[in-house]
Amino acid sequence: MGDDLVVFDSVEKHFGSFTAVRSLDLKIQSGEFVALMGPSGCGKTTTLRMLAGLDTPSAGEIRLNGERINEVPAHRRQTPMVWQSLALFPFLNVRENVEFGLKMLAVPEQERRTRAMDWLDRMEIAQFSERHIEQLSGGQRQRVALARALVTEPSILLLDEPLSALDANLVIRMQGVLTRLQRSLGITFIYVTHSQSEAFAMADRVVIMNEGEIAQVGSSRDIYRNPANRFVAEFVGRNNILNGDVRAQPGQTGHNQRPVPDDCIEVKTSAGTFQAAFNGQPPGNGSAVTLVVGADLASVTAAQPDTSNHVRATVISEEFVGAVVTLFMETDDGTEFKVQLQQRELDKLELETGTGLWVSWDVANTHLIQA
């Protein structure tokens, strides 16, 4: 595959007895916006740092443009990075910061200045070119950091949680800036974050990591709707997760004395027995499985619904974000359910805390994870 810009081939990284990254295989193509996501300590930053040459792999090979770069020192890699702390040089002004990379490439002074000013212009901060870093706001600094990294026209840009220090509104604006930038430049962005909203909003492909290994690679939709394992399902926010074991195969008689439909199996959990669709070979009776139901795919009604998957639950609290409401509910056995619905739907229910309601969801929307 000539199109693979970056290849991680069985890469491992140990710090003493601690394994930060184990047996990592990952290919990233030119022009892709890839997000590396996971909880802290999952190895995402180490992966990025190995690519930048700031950490050396303990085993395996990293290839850039098809060439092994394990031994290439950081300063010869042309893999500029935007840092969480931004790491702007406090003793240089804005323009000098941007010029730094060009200076290291021995670009003549005049050209350096022109190119730096071009980029400052592009990032809409040209008027601050002679200011000191400490005189800029957080968002402006962010733009300086981007300009500084991009001014050398690299084929790849590494971003290490660059937005984590900004306030919420600014984050949304900067997400737009980054996406547009990546589309217009057509270069590869590798973006490390622990925030799924950032990853899902921007990335073409999301890599979820856990304990040094890749848990799942896929598009935002894939990961959200079809988590490959329980870790991903839990990590990716608003999912209802039910553990249980298979009790009936297609055609067999289910718990409500009716036969289980053809493409379904029946699973008994502590909250009740539910049906779930499956692909390919169904897991045998008695095997442990996990059911995942997106909070936005479940609904609540006052009357008992007619569907096969429903359960009685009590409202514990509500959370409002704009017109979307999340109800936090609990069944008699203590299983927690989250249901997202529109404000206007909620108004119809006229509920108060402690109200009992029916939670239901389609069999087709019940994602099955085999253990």
Partner: protein
């Protein structure tokens, strides 16, 4: 209400106490300045007449310009060497982890705990074996040993404030380690380097015990002062002292201004 008045009263008492401490600290300094213009050879109250005689005596004292020249050479050299060594140590401590680092830092910071008389004794014993005693070089060596820990402490404090990613950011942008040292670490620590140079120069300029032991015939200003004190005590000491004070205080003021600027920059950065 009652509590508040007693509080204010105690605040004033405490402020007055600070003033008292300052009086204790500054009375010998002021006294020596006043006596440097006083005609009495063994000054007392009431003061004698105003005179610049002692300054003239210093001016005509051949030992003083030569000692001053020695002092300047010694303090410049030991400041530069001490600051260089201090910088290396501070940077190593900031950047690298290695086995025996505690021992390494212990060695770096040990000299100030050894009394100067003992340093002088050990230095003279050793340097005279090495054939170096009595040379300016001997004083420079000894003072560098004493100065390096102070420089190390100052520069290490500044490195404490550095963004830990700053070096990596420079490598990332194509700067080699050497280049990064030149264009990132040194510019960043420059205020502390200048402060360390001034501080160590001042420390060396005023040091007398070790210099007295190892200097032989090449005396520095404080050694001349000590010899006047041991010999024909006269208020020339005050005149020299006032003069040395002015030189030293210039260095201190520069240091202080730089450090204040450094702090200010740091606070803005936050």
């Amino acid at each position: 209400m009652h509590n508040k008045t007693t509080g204010r009263f105690s605040t004033w008492i405490l402020r007055a106490y600070i003033a008292l401490v300052l009086v204790f600290v500054f009375s010998p300094l002021l006294a020596s300045m006043v006596f440097s213009f006083n005609s009495d050879r063994f000054p007392s109250l009431p003061l004698g007449e105003f005179t610049t005689h002692w300054y003239k005596a210093v001016w005509n004292n051949d030992a003083v310009p030569e000692a001053l020249r020695n002092s300047v050479i010694v303090s410049l050299c030991s400041a530069v060497l001490g600051t260089f060594i201090g910088f290396c140590t501070a940077y190593t401590d900031y950047r690298y982890q290695f086995r025996g680092k505690a021992l390494y830092l212990g060695l770096a910071l040990l000299p100030p705990t050894i009394p100067l008389v003992i340093m002088g004794l050990a230095m003279l014993a050793w340097l005279s074996r090495a054939g170096l005693s009595g040379t300016l070089f001997a004083i420079i060596i000894a003072h560098t040993v004493m100065c390096a820990p102070f420089a190390m402490a100052l520069i290490r404090l500044r490195l404490q404030q550095i963004d830990p990613n700053l070096e990596a950011a420079a490598w990332n942008l194509g700067a080699s380690e050497w280049r990064t040292m030149r264009s990132v670490i040194i510019p960043f620590t420059r205020p502390s380097i200048i402060a360390a140079l001034c501080l160590t120069a001042a420390v060396s300029f005023d040091e007398f015990a070790v210099a007295w032991f190892v200097s032989g015939l090449n005396k520095t200003v404080p050694v001349v002062i000590l010899e006047i004190l041991q010999g024909n005590v006269d208020p020339q000491i005050n005149a020299i002292g006032t003069f040395v004070f002015i030189i030293s205080i210039t260095l201190v003021v520069i240091t202080q201004l730089i450090v204040m600027k450094q702090n200010k920059g740091h606070r803005h950065g936050r």
